[in-house]
Symmetry: C2
Subunit: 202 residues, 2 copies
């Protein structure tokens, strides 16, 4: 839409919103128009929330998860299993796994994956910090939960080799058919993985 | 996601974003995480754009379209046809119609529709202003482009009756099958309208 003709400031907002992931120009325009209908207070609250999140949120000193304190609430939770560390790519992955409710151990956020083509090597990720944590005797298992993508798999493979130590179990999350998905809509690589990792039930 | 546990400010941003139309909590969390990855400057630019849009954009004194000046760029454009006024519900509708490029007249934004159940009567919309504009001899047609919904249709019907004056044509935009749509996915009411308003082609 030729919003710029009516209002350069509206055009600017549409432009900035459309840079967010998953939002095309059309959705961005819809959101901008909605914000324009906001009360002054609501618009200010949204602007302030954006500034606050940048100002207050940083990464946990131990696991690099999001936190507003020095060490995050998972790392400091005595009720969690401190003998297991789940390695993920991003803080968003921690949120997703926490939502599943299936895990009660600690996390370690790598901050990405190894990607030689993009020049991202082990020193660009928080791998040294992971090693340091696994040296502690209390840690008995590392679960690799990087994405089942080429880069995620390569990173997991690298970590499996690098973490090889007596007494430390290293596992990879299972890949298979998503719960609730119909086979018709599942790609072949996933189906092959699901078949390979089948579990006997009787 | 239980974002609040990690970061109240992230939770607050997710909450505010998820109030925007078409964004559930999941999309809101994705956007909030993306904003968190923004540079300080990008986050500030977005926050500022939200504040600017509320500060700078207001409604055109003549047609109630969005503008940053007193009268909008459509109302002041001498190249447009000042004898036709297209009546729409919201400024967003003006943007959409302008994008279609099919209209070169003026607009009048009502600011909503009549809705007796919600207590919205003719005095709550900019209907008096529309009448005043149509009194001018130069106006020869009013096109009613309110939404083809119950409220939009009722509002159009009200305006047809109220605008009945010698020498003033009043029309309603056509309803029919959307361009590019397959009949399979078009609802029955639309199909019925499309059939009723069919145009002879040979």
């Amino acid at each position: 839409m030729d919003v710029a003709r009516f209002s350069p400031s509206l055009e600017r907002l549409v432009e900035l919103i459309s840079k967010l992931p998953g939002l095309g120009r059309k959705s961005a325009a819809r959101l901008a128009l909605h914000i324009l209908r906001h009360s002054e207070e609501e618009a200010e609250a949204l602007a302030q929330a954006i500034l606050d999140v940048k100002r207050l949120v940083h990464l946990c000193r131990v696991c690099s998860n999001f936190t507003e304190s020095d060490v995050c609430s998972i790392c400091t939770d005595p009720k969690r299993d401190h003998s297991v560390i789940c390695v993920v790519e991003t803080p968003g992955d921690v949120l997703r796994l926490e939502k599943s409710g299936a895990y009660r151990g600690l996390y370690h956020v790598l901050g990405g994956t190894l990607s030689p083509l993009d020049g991202i090597g082990p020193n660009d990720l928080r791998i040294a910090e992971l090693f340091q944590r696994t040296q502690e005797n209390s840690v008995r298992e590392v679960i690799l939960a990087t994405n089942p993508t080429t880069d995620g798999d390569a990173t997991a493979l690298y970590l499996v080799r690098a973490l090889k130590t007596d007494g430390l179990a290293v596992s990879r999350i299972a890949r298979g058919v998503p719960v609730g998905a119909e086979l018709e809509h599942v790609d072949e690589a996933t189906l092959a993985s699901a078949m390979e990792s089948r579990t006997r039930i009787s």
